[in-house]
Amino acid sequence: MPLIRRDDNKTAAPREPVADAAALTAALGDPDPDRRWRAARSLGSDAGAVPALAAALAAEQLPQVREAIMTALLRIGDAGAVAALLPSLRAQDAALRASAIEALQAMPEATLPFMTALFADADSDVRILATELVRNMPAETATPLLCDLLAHEPHPNVCAAAIDVLAEVGTPAAIPALQACASRFAEVSFLRFVVAVAIDQISGAEH
């Protein structure tokens, strides 16, 4: 019989002894990527580790380890963790921006208090990415946030990004803001198109 069964659970190499928080935060800067990965993975239940994780995120070059750091922050999930992730929205590296949006999107309650400031950010690229962060919020929270943004937003791409989220999560209360936006950008055919689709989709829920 070529099938074998091992009933002890000790197939894996013996685990390293459980390290304390200080040792783990130190390991975030270890030259060995495996150790950095493991340290980040172990720090996800320790809100005190946020500053160390934030510093590690800023320095980390390996995508896998960055993922693990962001997952740890997302598991901690408090305002400090959000603040640690936000700078990555401004990164020149698109992969870093992508991971950060994904992590922030998974912590909608903690992200909510930051939305007003993010939607008022001077950088339109940041405002565009920020629209994604409300996608997992309840419709009643997301709709007014995005409508307020639409009302003042000068940049068509930010509007389009907000409209895309509204098409999924918006309530019919968004329709006037959508119509106003379409008339403000009447010369941009793309915006007219997306507003029409979004209104159609949102009002489908009305009857």
Binding site: L3, I4, T11, A12, T71, S203
Partner: protein, 290 residues
């Protein structure tokens, strides 16, 4: 369309269906051709009635919040989600036709090949893997193979250990195979042969619990089918990292056929084999890309 027991049917517009499909596509990767929309309409109406929602908007809010695992219920309502022997045979074929050859180039003759079925539910999947290897892999006698099945549900695990199945679960197996690996118990009931039952270890594991998952290391192939897609974003991400740690460098992970890593994690490499798309933990060899 009212069904016995269902409340008055709620109006569903084409736009509602489109919105629902866009949401499902983003969340799960499942997409439906326009000609399947009618079918979705019906399932959707059934789910709205079953959940007691008064409108599509209420139902959609419930779905978005994934209250009471509604995403799973909805997806189950339009996919066949029954576990049976040799479900997703193309992956088993891929394993014997491609994955094992690649894995064995890195293994010495007395190293064990380790395969994990998680979640294994009531055991059909790990037993199918074992039977498939014995039936279809020419080198099966040359290597030691260890198969572990794990699930969070201990009552499912008990059933897996008993290995008793009805005709339906065996529908994909030939009479020969059934005769070789099963013992008839009573009309329509079959039990896995004791030798095979005893050679597979069944254990409890929670995919999102890192401490739990830390007991599982050094697997060459992990079958993780039809579960991750139902997790929320945070759980998917945590489970993917846990699974990453359970694999050897260069080890493979097989998802269910309607699941895609594009909704789960960027940690793995995408590999295309003649029979299937399989994901791989990087780091085994020289051909390191990315």
């Amino acid at each position: 369309m009212t069904r016995p027991g269902a409340g008055p049917s709620v109006a569903i517009s084409q736009q509602d269906v489109r919105r629902l499909c866009e949401f499902l596509y983003r969340r799960t990767g499942m997409s439906f051709a326009d000609n399947k929309r009618y079918y979705i309409d019906r399932r959707l109406a059934e789910r709205i009635a079953a959940t007691g929602c008064g409108s599509f908007a209420d139902y959609f809010a419930m779905l978005r919040a994934d209250a009471e695992h509604e995403i799973e219920h909805l997806v189950n309502s339009f996919t066949v989600n029954e576990t049976y022997f040799d479900r997703e045979e193309h992956q088993l074929r891929c394993m014997t036709a491609s994955l094992l050859d690649e894995l064995l180039t890195r293994k010495g003759p007395d190293e064990t090949l380790r395969i994990w079925s998680v979640p294994c539910s009531t055991g059909e999947e790990p037993y199918s893997i074992a039977i498939w290897l014995m039936e279809h892999w020419r080198d099966v006698d040359k290597y030691n193979i260890e198969i572990v099945g794990s699930d969070i549900d201990t009552s499912a695990l008990q059933k897996a250990e008993q290995g008793i199945y009805g005709e339906r679960a065996l529908m994909r197996l030939t009479r020969d195979v059934v005769a070789r690996y099963f013992k008839p118990l009573s009309p329509g009931k079959y039990q896995i042969d004791p030798g095979l039952r005893e050679s597979i270890r069944f254990t409890h594991a929670n995919l999102v619990d890192a401490a739990d998952m830390a007991q599982y290391r050094d697997f060459d192939i992990v079958f993780c089918r039809n579960v991750l897609i139902y997790f929320d974003d945070a759980s998917r991400r945590i489970a993917a990292e846990n699974l990453y740690d359970c694999l050897r460098p260069g080890g493979f992970i097989c998802l269910g056929h309607s699941e895609t890593m594009s909704r789960i994690s960027p940690l793995f490499r995408i590999r295309r084999f003649p029979d299937a798309i399989i994901y791989q933990k990087p780091g085994a060899d020289h051909d390191e890309q990315q």
